[in-house]
Symmetry: C2
Subunit: 325 residues, 2 copies
């Protein structure tokens, strides 16, 4: 922007700046802030530098991200921890009950068994599946990166389809009882689990949280009481049309910069503000970004290539000029 103002004295389009500093904590105040400043923030669409490229010489247009909702379950059985010799076998161990409840949420192949969970999920079109299938996937490399024994998940979908277009229900933490060295013959009185779901169009976070609560109420094993609390940071899933003017502009520029057509991909993660811009401003967000996968995102040794920084500067100038035509 500064360079364009210095060299040309003016910008080809009107620009507003929006600095979002809450993304990593789920943007708890953004929806209310955007909703109550509709006039101030009004725009045609949003250009974001969050996202990334596929490889250093391969551009990508990212059209979707998954949403999020989460909750915590606390199961209680006895008033205090008790001696497993004296009482073991006569009442429900809350750890067993929690394990049973968690297990009731998935089938043996990873499919989600919560009633209604998939009801709102859009079926992938043949065109969408083809777009995803065009992106090279090296299963061995993926397995090696993760360090897993094998991949695993909902039958009938490829790994990228699972990661980008299918919702998940993951237990992020589960705990109860004795966790120290050695043995302690205690039966815990409380067991806990933290769950988050990644959501896809057209799932709504509040509705999914309600379905989960209903499932817990229906499947809570005998002999325990339970409480469910919503975790902060829910977000709508996000998907934009591939032929949105912003995406068209991005594809033209990326093709010019790299000499090849960009992949059309989605990402499995969540940027909550995408959904808020769309909901309150009617503005889609274009992910126009040049980060690479090996840059250790979120790690202590995270970095960004200087070459990518220069390419990004160039691309953003090209984008503004393209939009002014």
């Amino acid at each position: 922007i500064e360079a364009m103002l210095r060299t040309q004295g003016t910008l080809p389009v009107n620009v507003k700046f929006f600095f979002e500093g809450q993304e990593e904590i789920g943007s708890p105040q953004m929806p209310d802030f955007i909703a109550s400043h509709r006039d101030l923030l009004a725009c045609d669409w949003v250009l974001s530098s969050d996202g990334g490229q596929w490889e250093e010489n391969q551009p990508v247009v990212i059209i979707g991200r998954r949403g999020l909702c989460g909750l915590q379950i606390d199961l209680q059985s006895s008033r205090h921890d008790v001696h497993s010799g004296t009482y073991g076998g006569t009442f429900q161990n809350p750890i067993h009950a929690l394990a049973r409840l968690i297990t009731s949420m998935h089938g043996p192949q990873g499919e989600i068994l919560v009633d209604g969970f998939y009801d709102a999920v859009r079926t992938l079109s043949d065109a969408e599946r083809t777009q995803i299938a065009e992106i090279p996937f090296d299963e061995k490399q993926y397995v090696d990166e993760l360090g897993v024994k094998q991949l695993f998940g909902e039958p009938g979908y490829s790994t990228y389809e699972r990661a980008w277009t299918r919702p998940t229900l993951e237990v992020n933490g589960m705990w109860g009882g004795f966790q120290g060295e050695g043995v302690k013959t205690v039966i815990a009185n409380i067991a806990h689990a933290k769950i988050t779901c990644r959501l896809v169009p057209d799932q709504e976070p509040d509705k999914i949280a309600k379905l989960l609560s209903d499932h817990i109420a229906r499947h809570a094993p005998a002999g325990v009481t339970f409480s469910v609390q919503k975790l902060p940071g829910s977000a709508d899933p996000y998907l934009m049309p591939l032929d949105h003017p912003g995406n068209i502009a991005a594809r033209i520029i990326l093709k010019e910069l790299y000499g090849k057509e960009p992949y059309v991909a989605r990402m499995g993660g969540t940027i909550p503000v995408c959904g808020s811009f769309l909901k309150f401003l009617g503005a889609h967000m274009i992910n126009f970004a040049f980060g690479l996968k090996d840059e250790n995102i979120h790690a202590p040794d995270e970095f960004f290539r200087i070459s990518s920084f220069k390419r990004g500067q160039e691309a953003f100038c090209m984008m503004l000029e393209q939009l002014g035509r």
Copy 2:
């Protein structure tokens, strides 16, 4: 002993003292110690002050205790914790796998589903069931003490039968992933569980641990690796004949002291040294004790009644005299 020596100059029977200081940590060195000092420790039977009474005015003869064995399970999936947005839905979450594995060990009514687990368990005779049924059981009081919603356990048995004569498989601790405040959208790479079983005649700790390991190998969900380690402190179950000379003596004395017949009960907990005395010395152990249930055993405010102390002194003298007849 001191009082009898002072007043009578001699004891009616020979007495050896054995001070066991490891009971609360599972007596790890006792079996080897007893096995390698058979001559030094040789005796007809053992008189122990571990045990207790039923009520202050109701004596009890305790003829059995459950044994113990335990192991820890560690399930691993990916090399490190990973982002649930990027990878969620494409590989096995080890917490889900652990929950499924734990759930496979019990039926919905608490029965244990590990193949062969009940094979060695002695069926209760009608006489044994009658003995147990003669002991008053107040379900409401038991439920209130525990603070549970309801009792729960293996069908076909009363609460005391479950607690004293049926084996258990209890998860004493289970943990994996994020346990802090709020939300963290991570998929853990490892999940853990600590399990102990209370054993009854004629279950053997090593055999039960092997059956559990086999079960884990057979039921470990796809996509995870697992390791199983034996926890320290296993113990044989213990049951002595009601007509053992020590029990006959105890019943005569208790009837004289309290003016009523003692209950014949077992306890659900474990005293490992019982099994070692029997195995290596051929000597049964009589539980001749005067502790009461309300004395907050193991709690910071544990106490013992001075009246019980005096009654115990009297009873132990009567026991030695009775045996000398």
